[in-house]
């Protein structure tokens, strides 16, 4: 191992603090699901905010050492979870979204831990500026979609809970209103879609520059992601698709984007 790779791999102390704080926030949010004292949700929110800030410090510190979020899939994943948490926090102070925190905080923790454990920490060889922008935008887009999807999943659970009239369940008592969730998810897709579109277009150009084969599966799966979200936006405006249908499409699109990331990760791990 050269010195350069050592620097790449070593996270700052802030990273471990962030990891612990994410864990604390996740624990608090998940316990708030069950009969919880009133201080628990605000405590979880503050813990998550603290995690977000320390995680931000880690990203900044690594940036100073030239390990940008766009240098590798691992960095990109870390950045993705950071954006997702930031987006959640942005709304958590305005809307009753405590239950969503129980999805977001553990997800951030898992993504971060997985990214660090993945063997693909080395920077890609010959990463051009175009490639960096592509990776950054794709990450940002997927992070926003991830949040939209978490909300969509919440929506489906709650919709079912209300339709089944589970008046004594916590989902019925503490969840945010259905229309609020639907609106939030839609707004996120509206923000995320242009970003993702731009990244796909840059990806095509970048791929062409590197003479990559268009038959690679990630291209087609990425296209599924793009088509799902694009179709969702069109159907919503023209046919008034919302609620359950919109939630299902959002989840579909996001699943496809996760598949793309997984293929990238696998390819890097196998040295492809």
């Amino acid at each position: 191992m050269t010195d350069a790779t050592v620097i790449t791999v070593a996270p700052s102390p802030a990273f471990y603090v962030a990891l612990i704080l994410y864990g604390v926030a996740a624990l608090l949010y998940v316990s708030a699901f069950v009969e919880a004292p009133r201080w628990m949700v605000p405590a979880a929110r503050w813990a998550l905010l603290a995690a977000f800030v320390t995680h931000g410090i880690d990203i900044g510190w690594r940036g100073v050492l030239h390990v940008h979020p766009a240098t590798s899939v691992r960095e990109a994943l870390g950045f993705l979870s950071w954006v997702m948490v930031g987006g959640y926090l942005w709304w958590a102070w305005r809307v009753k979204l405590a239950m969503l925190g129980a999805f977001v905080a553990p997800a951030a923790l898992a993504i971060l831990a997985l990214a660090r454990l993945s063997p693909s920490g080395e920077p890609m060889a010959g990463l051009s500026a175009l490639g960096r922008v592509h990776i950054s935008l794709a990450t940002l887009g997927v992070a926003i979609f991830a949040l939209a999807t978490a909300i969509a999943v919440m929506y489906l659970f709650e919709d079912r809970s209300i339709k089944r009239k589970e008046f004594d369940r916590v989902l019925f008592k503490r969840g945010a209103a259905l229309e609020t969730l639907d609106r939030l998810s839609h707004r996120l897709v509206v923000i995320g879609f242009p970003i993702f579109t731009a990244s796909v277009m840059l990806g095509v150009v970048w791929g062409a520059q590197r003479a990559e084969l268009l038959s690679r599966p990630e291209w087609w799966i990425a296209l599924v992601t793009w088509a799902s979200f694009g179709g969702l936006l069109v159907a919503r405006t023209t046919h008034g698709w919302r609620g359950r249908k919109a939630a299902v499409l959002t989840i579909m699109g996001f699943t496809a984007s996760v598949a793309v990331l997984a293929i990238y990760l696998a390819r890097r791990a196998l040295g492809g």
Partner: protein, 453 residues
């Protein structure tokens, strides 16, 4: 009562839904115009100084206080007076009432008052009506000067406690009656109801009530439709809504966000075909349908449609019972707030009872001391020598002490009953000790000696 004198004490006598069936409660209830004469009657008794009559459909209670600084008039006596007054004024046999009436004095009366005000003793825990009723009862009594310092302070405190309980616990959270549950259910789907439209189908009183609750919660407009246009117009006027023809139902369903249905129809009116069309027309914006009718107006199948949230009367009742369970859980927290406030008010009331005694004691001492001082000064005259002055001051001090001690000492000597109590009280009042004990020495030494012995 252990406390001798028992002046300015609080008591309550009455019955409530807990102790008496409605047949008894209605016979005891006071009409508004009966309250003032009844209060005058009560205050006619020398044992009762202040009184408030609280008469609602769930309880009839007389709150009162005994006269301040009047020895002998205890709260128990006053309560008995109020008890017989109730029977007499309502023309009910006292024996028949005995099983239903309860009475509380002193701390227990304060606690009872606070619990009533905070709706902890209500049939529907946490309901908001009782506080208004109590305020009304207090106002009515205050208008005829039937209240004073003790009851006034207690009532004001009770209102504060009710407010605290309401804001610091979840005791009033969640709809507690079927007509306001619709608001809660609509909020689960829409968040806030600002700008939402309500559609009332049929002429049910319950849906009219529910519509009003929804309007208070922020809904913008109420549409009313009925097979009979006259009835629609009537109800629309009542809820300040707009009457719309029955034939427009499909269009109305597309327009409304919350539907309240309570027709007398025997067949479902809201069937899947109609609702599918309506949902398409409204571009699948969510629709909450509350079906209060029995037999039901809505085909249960419409609840399966995407975006349609259907609730029937059983669901509403289930939500209510669920909420009441939650409220009951919060009642514990409320009770501990009540306990804290009870202690506080009790302390104040006790202080009030001591105040007159303190004042006259002070005046008495002042009077004696000043009288002797005056006498001493006039006795000395202008040419008194320093020795005379010294002698006169010593004599004056002696006289003051003797004069002040005379009455308590003769009382102490004359005591036949409770002599020990009197001695103890005197010792405590003047911080005396019987046989002067040695000053407490440094702790460890005597302990060790004790062990040796």
């Amino acid at each position: 009562m252990a406390s001798a004198g028992g002046s300015g004490e609080l008591f309550v006598v009455g019955l409530s839904w807990r102790t008496a069936p409605v047949a008894v409660r209605e016979r005891l209830a006071f009409r508004d115009e009966e309250v003032a004469p009844a209060l005058a009657d009560l205050l006619g008794s020398p044992d009762i100084d202040e009184a408030v009559i609280l008469s609602t459909c769930n309880r009839v209670e007389i709150y009162g206080s005994t006269p301040p600084a009047q020895p002998g008039g205890s709260a128990v006596v006053a309560a008995a007076v109020a008890r017989s007054f109730l029977a007499r004024s309502r023309g009910v046999a006292a024996e028949g009432l005995a099983d239903h009436l309860y009475e509380r004095v002193d701390v227990d009366a304060i606690r009872h008052l606070f619990r009533v005000a905070a709706a902890l003793d209500s049939m529907v825990v946490g309901e908001s009506q009782i506080l208004g009723q109590l305020k009304g009862a207090y106002g009515a009594a205050a208008r005829v000067q039937a209240t004073g310092a003790v009851l006034g302070r207690s009532m004001e405190k009770a209102f504060q406690v009710a407010k605290r309980v309401r804001s610091e616990t979840g005791i009033s959270r969640g709809a507690a009656n079927v007509s306001s549950v619709a608001v809660e259910l609509a909020r689960r789907v829409f968040g806030d109801l600002d700008g939402k439209t309500i559609l009332v189908i049929g002429a049910g009183k319950m849906s009219a009530l529910a519509a009003r609750h929804l309007r208070v919660a922020g809904a913008r407009s109420i549409l009313v439709t009925n097979r009979s246009p006259e009835k629609a117009a009537e109800l629309a006027a009542e809820v300040e809504g707009t009457a719309r023809p029955w034939a427009e139902l499909p269009a109305l369903l597309a327009e409304a966000d919350v539907v309240l249905s309570s027709t007398g129809a025997t067949q479902p009116i809201l069937d899947p075909k109609l609702m599918k069309g309506a949902m398409k027309a409204r571009r699948w914006r969510p629709l909450v349908v509350v079906d209060i009718a029995v037999p039901r107006d809505a085909d249960p199948a419409i609840g399966k449609l995407d975006g349609v949230y259907l609730f029937d009367i059983d669901d509403l009742e289930r939500v209510v019972s669920e909420n009441l369970k939650e409220r009951q859980k919060e009642a514990d927290a409320a009770l501990s707030i009540v306990e804290v406030e009870v202690t506080e008010l009790r302390r104040w009331l006790r202080a009030q009872r001591v105040v007159p005694t303190i004042r006259s004691l002070r005046e008495h001492f002042h009077h004696v001391a000043m009288g002797e001082a005056e006498r001493c000064i006039t006795g000395l005259g202008p040419q008194a020598s320093a020795a005379d002055v010294e002698k006169a001051i010593r004599r004056m001090s002696e006289l003051i002490a003797n004069k002040l001690l005379h009455t308590p000492l003769s009382a102490l000597k004359a005591t036949e009953q409770d002599l020990d109590t009197m001695v103890q009280v005197t010792q405590r009042l003047f911080a005396l000790t019987d046989a002067p004990e040695p000053a407490p020495a440094a702790a460890p030494e005597p302990l060790i000696q004790g062990k040796k012995g």
